[in-house]
């Protein structure tokens, strides 16, 4: 029998963890001589106070949905994919190649092509660590870390070499106009009033939402998802049932890599419309926090990604208007990972004791 009711596990614990992270963050802000309350107001205003802010929040959230889902699906197979960063970088390479070298007639085709390219490239980058885990038992955490560094080098190699556009920067040329994805500004332009003016959120957000739904169905409704979850809960049982560990590790990591790679349609094709060196900017790592907070459930991931989107946009505004450096966001992110991931038991154990004694009290009341 479970010690705690389900709602406590999925809602109460994450909320308390986030509160703890928030309190510590506030202390950090206080310590550097700023007012946490003012900072929060600025963040809320900057991220949610205008369609412009929302446009950025949703743009960041889109990135985090992809990387969060990537980490989540791997978690379901009890694999810890820290390689989202590298996979998203290489996904960007795929998007760039697809957009630059194929004359697309219309953005819809370009989107489809880029999505496939991004997924394939991302998956390919996850394939080697996956293979090594499946066949050689090399820990996927270590190999994906290594592959993040190697990915950065590979990207660099192309951006100062074959794909470099003339000019100072190591970046590709601007993608052709036909690959331009409709931004929220394009989509929600009603003549007089333009919503989301200047914000980078684009149609990819809906692709991300679709990915959430698709992944939810995959995990909970399909045979493959059933097998992935089985394997994640118990490798020995999965073997007994005739579920091939090799297959599940490969498939889960390939899906994971593909999702991380698909982030590139948002930031590379949707926003920058060219590939630059540090296009991913840590989103791969934020995916870890997002998946942890979202309890690896696609809808949890969505909510957590929105929260982090808010943090990122709010944090950027904070950096623009106050002297609080943007690194504060990294601190907050670290605290969220720490409390929701590593220090989970710190919150859980006292709560479990609480629920246990509540139950005992209730039972005693009944029997006496």
């Amino acid at each position: 029998m479970d010690v705690m009711p389900k709602w406590a596990d999925v809602v109460l614990i994450p909320v308390i963890s986030i509160l703890l992270a928030a309190i510590l963050s506030a202390l950090v802000i206080l310590a550097i001589g700023e007012n946490p309350w003012e900072a929060l107001k600025l963040m809320v205003d900057g991220a949610l106070g205008s369609t412009y802010g929302w446009g950025y929040t949703l743009y960041y959230a889109t990135n985090f949905i992809f990387t969060g889902l990537a980490v989540a699906i791997a978690f379901h197979a009890r694999l810890f994919n820290i390689g989202g960063e590298g996979q998203a970088l290489i996904g960007g390479l795929g998007v760039a190649i697809i957009c630059l070298f194929i004359p697309w007639p219309h953005w819809t085709f370009a989107l489809l092509g880029a999505a496939i390219g991004a997924a394939l490239f991302g998956a390919a980058w996850a394939a080697i660590p996956a293979f090594l885990q499946a066949k050689r038992g090399s820990h996927v955490v270590i190999t994906t870390i290594m592959f993040n560094f190697i990915a950065a080098a590979v990207l660099n190699y192309f951006l100062i070499g074959a794909l470099k556009a003339p000019g100072m920067e190591p970046a590709t040329a601007k993608f052709p106009e036909a690959t331009h994805l409709p931004s929220f500004q394009d989509m929600f332009n009603f003549g007089e009033t333009t919503f989301f003016r200047g914000a980078p959120a684009n149609i990819t957000f809906f692709v991300a939402l679709a990915a959430c739904v698709a992944l939810w169905a995959l995990i909970w409704k399909t045979r493959l998802g059933y097998e992935i979850r089985s394997f994640g809960h118990s490798e020995t049982a999965a073997k007994y049932a005739g579920i091939s560990p090799t297959k599940i590790i490969m498939v889960a990591m390939l899906i994971s890599g593909a999702l991380a790679g698909m982030m590139a349609i948002n930031n590379v094709q949707g926003e920058a419309e060219r590939l630059v060196l540090n296009a991913v900017e840590g989103a791969g790592f934020i995916g870890i926090a997002v998946a942890l907070m979202g309890r690896s459930h696609p809808f949890g991931v969505l909510l957590a990604a929105l929260l982090f989107g808010f943090l990122y946009q709010g944090g950027a505004e904070l950096a623009l208007w106050t002297s609080i450096p943007r690194e504060l966001i990294i601190v907050i992110q670290a605290l969220v990972i720490l409390f929701t991931g590593a220090l989970d038991n710190m919150v859980r154990m006292p709560l479990e004791r609480l629920f246990l004694s509540l139950r005992r009290a209730k039972n005693d009341g009944r029997t006496v």
């Binding site: 169905a217 409704k221 399909t222 059933y226 979850r229 049982a237 007994y240 049932a241 005739g242 579920i243």
Partner: protein
Amino acid sequence: MSDVAPAIELKGISKAFGPVQANKDISIRVMPGTIHGIIGENGAGKSTLMSILYGFYKADAGEIFISGRKTAIPDSQAAIAAGIGMVFQHFKLVENFTVLENVILGAEDSGLLRPSLSRARRELKNLAEEYELNVDPDALIEEVGVGMQQRVEILKALYRKADILILDEPTGVLTPAEADHLFRILENLKREGKTIILITHKLREIMEITDTVSVMRRGEMTATVKTSETSPPELAELMVGRKVLLRVDKVPAQIGRKILEVKDLNVTDDKGVHRLKGVSFDVHAGEILGIAGVAGNGQSELLEVLGGYERATGLVKINGEEIDLTGAKSDGQSRRARGISHVPEDRQREGLIMDFHAWENTAFGYHHDAEYQRSKLFMNNAAIRKDTEEKMARFDVRPPDPTLEAKSFSGGNQQKIVLAREIEQNPDLLLIGQPTRGVDIGAIEFIHQQIVALRDQGKAILLVSVELEEILSLSDRIAVMFDGKIMGERMPDKTDEKELGLLMAGMTTEPRGLLHEAVEAQLAHAGGDAGKEV
């Protein structure tokens, strides 16, 4: 007698693991220089109680008195200081350390290792002579057999000058001969004035060696009696709480055609150890073939090969058709497609996903079945749930709620969920390992009836069990495994536990009496290397 303080006295010990009350207000007295047995069903709380005495767990309530003095045992350090040593059910050894290093770990003389090691080497030699506890001090633990590992555990305790020795199910992994050897050691220790607590499931051992015995049931201590004043049936009743009927009613087998044919099966594991060595046998329709043997002699590998998740060489035919033993088609799925069902030995690690709902577990392994699919892509969860409800009803699973997670069922009911899933597939061949491990008597009866009923439908059944009684009462034919080989086949009505026990120790049984003695002598001489892996 009365003015001698008990070596150990526990008063009112209680311990809960989360919602599970493992020990409830337990009190017990053990007199010095005696062997005190503790019996009880799986999960009764025996190991928990002893771990509390050894300071491994902390009790929620209760007091401990050692030689009449109240002693706080917050950790194993304190237990060792109080002269207590414990050999756990699962050994606590560092696999890639040598015997010597394991012995001195935690009992080193000084900051530097060298002096401790040389003292331990001398000490070990003395102990070996004194108690027939021969070990190779420089062997790596991972390279020696369980028998030797157990001796290392005992030596660890003696090296720490333990006066009180707790042994938790020490014979579960030993052959009868090794067990006899162990008991001789224990007798020696007792003669030296040491106090011994022995946990076991085997009533025979209790009757043979203990002076007093305590019985535990569901976390409570139900009785403590003098061994000489009790009998196995009485103990069994105390254990379960009601009269026990152990015999299975069954009609003679109607042997049909050959369903399973196994020829020259060989398995080498990833460490390069030869686990199965040319195993051959047949199972026919309408027959239960029982495989007896001490755990770890290749039975698990045999089930795994037939179940499709261990690679092997050799020949296996089911219904006359050869099955793939190495290729891509060698997995649980293809075995099930061939009409093989499998109730695995360890339901919690293999047979069930403990975090899945009961209904999800019902599809486990059969999640490709057409009836469970909604479309090419999606599973039909509603159909699975409905099917589960029916199966739970037929197998009397309590509570009959498909949406509960597997881990919230008790052991017996978990086993019924697995059985329902596998038996209801109507297989040609049922592989079944340790069907009643950790299951109470009531459920054992039910499960045995189901197995026999399946046999009577003309199915072939391969039964693996370490419980000789179970093997003897269920099987129509018995094969004994030792060290990856089949030592011989016997008919249940033409053999007995003694003969099977010798086979299980790797002895052929022809000139019986003589050999028995020869074994004992050899074991005594070599320090009993029988468990050593080859």
